[in-house]
């Protein structure tokens, strides 16, 4: 019985601690995928976020920023649950959330039910989040999956000479958006996408997928991430796969390139496109990489920040700079902060970022190729830098709207 009462007291103190409210503090809730398939991505996202705090500090005028982190598992329901917990229990005023595509769509919809709060997207990249019925209090400082593929299709067609490709991707909104960007450009240049395979997020056994890969294609595009990507590579190597590969933005990323084992070596020479390139010479990027490396011991981080770290860094930076601009003034339903967030132009590590009228980032994209640094570590080497990529990918908005929303079969492989 003693045990029971001790438990009750512990529980009671827990309940009480949730109610304590700080005064001169601005509370910000952060979510990341610290569970499930995308755990590694979430952890590096948090590292990017902490790097931003180390670089910029937590002070806004005379107020101090306080952060509460909640965990999700890349499913929309876990994101909504985490965000609700942060708002209702921890009383956060601003959200830095979420990480993954479908989470983004769900959180954006949730944001509409709390119009007084401010939501800064942390890293999610589904097109629908800001393109369809955007929430006025939801700001996204990273590009979407389609923007992150700009340049890849043309490079594959013109420079690499690929004419026919097949795709394998995770069956959800972010990868649809990535394949959308790739297919538009590759088919627009004259290429063919003969086969699109979709696997559920969290797939462990890729045997049937690998067996169904067509032989008569020049390259296979992989839109996988986290544990799924590593599992695929291991099994692909065991199956003796030798095709040319192309990669999506979270496939050719330090979360995969730094994985253990040598399955990742299948990726050497793979071309990809993303919102960053590990070996970019730009001083701003190099400074960020240095700050990231200095913030964590080598065994607790990747050799170079992943796309998620960069996104979390950029989002945190936007939020802190905007808060400083309004001197932490959150009165009148945070109107001033929202205004500042919409107008801010970021000098982010991965290039200049500004927002369009849907509060979606217009930024810089990178076409890369995977190289071995000679010591067994893999990096993405920059091949081409494309500035000012907007959400309609340079298409006229009316034409872009006709293409339809990214899905398993959209866009068709043709020139729009």
């Amino acid at each position: 019985m003693l045990r029971g009462s001790v438990g009750l007291i512990a529980l009671g103190s827990l309940l009480l601690s949730g109610a304590a409210v700080a005064q001169e503090k601005i509370k910000v809730g952060v979510t990341a995928t610290l569970e499930g398939t995308y755990t590694v991505l979430g952890e590096d996202g948090i590292r990017g976020f902490q790097t931003a705090l180390n670089t910029l500090g937590k002070k806004v005028g005379d107020k101090e920023l306080e952060f509460v982190i909640a965990s999700t598992d890349a499913t929309p329901d876990s994101a909504v649950r985490a965000v609700r917990k942060l708002i209702e229990q921890d009383k956060v005023q601003i959200l830095l959330s979420p990480l993954s595509g479908d989470e983004g769509i769900a959180v954006k919809n949730f944001a509409k039910s709390r119009p007084e709060l401010t939501f800064v997207n942390a890293a999610s990249g589904a097109q629908e989040t800001t393109y369809v019925d955007p929430a006025p209090n939801f700001f996204r400082y990273n590009m979407d999956g389609a923007q992150w593929q700009v340049g890849l299709g043309k490079y594959a067609y013109d420079t690499k000479g690929y004419r026919k490709i097949a795709t394998v991707g995770e069956d959800y909104s972010f990868i649809y958006t990535q394949v959308f960007g790739l297919v538009l450009e590759f088919c627009g240049a004259g290429g063919q996408v003969t086969n699109r395979q979709w696997v559920p997020l969290g797939t462990k056994d890729f045997a049937s997928v690998i067996a169904a890969l067509p032989d008569d294609v020049d390259a296979i595009y992989l839109g996988l991430g986290g544990a799924d990507a590593v599992n695929f590579l291991n099994q692909y190597q065991q199956a003796g796969g030798k095709a040319h590969l192309m990669g999506g933005s979270i496939m050719i990323d330090q979360t995969i390139l730094s994985s253990k084992g040598n399955a990742k070596n299948a990726l050497i020479g793979t071309i990809a496109a993303s919102g960053q390139a590990d070996t970019w010479e730009d001083p701003g990027w190099q400074k960020f990489v240095k700050a990231y490396q200095d913030s964590f011991p080598p065994n607790k981080r990747f050799p170079s920040p992943s796309l998620l770290a960069t996104n979390y860094y950029g989002s945190t930076m936007a939020l802190i700079l905007a808060l400083r601009e309004v001197n932490g003034d959150l009165s009148n339903n945070q109107a001033k902060l929202k205004d500042a967030l919409a107008k801010i132009e970021l000098d982010a590590p991965n290039g200049k970022i500004k927002l369009d009228s849907n509060r979606q980032a217009i930024g810089t994209n990178f076409v890369t190729e995977v190289v071995d640094d000679g010591k067994g570590a893999l990096f993405s080497k920059v091949v081409k830098v494309i500035p000012n990529v907007n959400q309609t990918l340079g298409y006229d908005p009316a034409v872009f709207a006709k293409i339809g929303l990214p899905s398993r079969t959209i866009p068709e492989c043709k020139k729009y």
Partner: protein, 356 residues
Amino acid sequence: MSLTQLHAPATVVERPKFPAWPELNNPAAWLVALILVIMPLIANGFFLIEIFGTSLILGIIALSLMFLAGYGGMVSLMQLTIAGFAGYMVAVFGVSGNANISLGWPWWLATPMALVLATIFGTLGGALAVRTEGIYTIMITLAIGAAFYYFTNQNWAIFNGHTGINTVATPQFWGVDWRSDIPFYYLILAVAALCYFAVQYVARAPFGLALQGVRDNSRRMAALGFNVNAHRVAAYAFASFIAGLGGVLQVWNYRQISPGSVGVERCIDILIIAVVGGITRPVGPFIGALIFVILRTFALDVLIKFGLDGNRFRLLIGLGFLAIVFWSSDGVIGLWERWRRRQTRTSSSTAGRRHG
């Protein structure tokens, strides 16, 4: 299990006139009921819905499992799937942000439709499962749960795939927004109470007693002329309806449903809730759900507060469950009962008191 075995004949012999409600004579039950009713005065929005509301909803779903496992001896892992099916049907027939999928029926049409379909779904699943026993029942119901999860994850025409259905409309009538915190809490409480007493009643009704007979010795019951499988399928139908009610509340709670809500691990969560709470009594699942929700919500904060790596919070959850199951194989209810028994042994004045 032994408790109900002892108890069932006792009820019949001692109180043959009508099925009694032992809660009415138990001051602790009245106290709990009172606290639940005045909860909105005590708890703020977060505790009201996120902790107590969610616990009651999960408790309702786990109650349907408790009914099947405790009285019918059938451990069904598809109760959450049935709840999720009801939730999906509310989203599909009702109003949501995905206008190309949702049919836009008003809530008073969509909700009964969802409940009917969920009951049919659960009954059909049950009809499959009753052909098996023991571990095979667990396996076949788990298979139904897993199949449903993968189906929703990959079907875009009805279930909208991994994205799920967002911004599901919630009922508003009599000038009340039934999803605002306090009305919604009372709605959940009313449904939970209804389900609780329904299970209590059915367990003591002839059908429930026959079901317990089927659980204890199905051959003998068959020899006595009972249709064993019909009783089991009927139990599934009843449990499916309860699970469906929980599912409807669940989708109103989050206003959103996606495959993650019906994943296999969620199905197992329901089993954990029922086992931790105890499957010998209808109140067990609600206690289990409260413990589960508290652990799930606060484990991360506790670890960080003690300066530990927050990423290991699942470990804390696991340890909590391990501790409960280690000290009491029949859940928290079992702990309580053992404590009561020790009390009666030490204080002779209350000798021979029975409850349950």
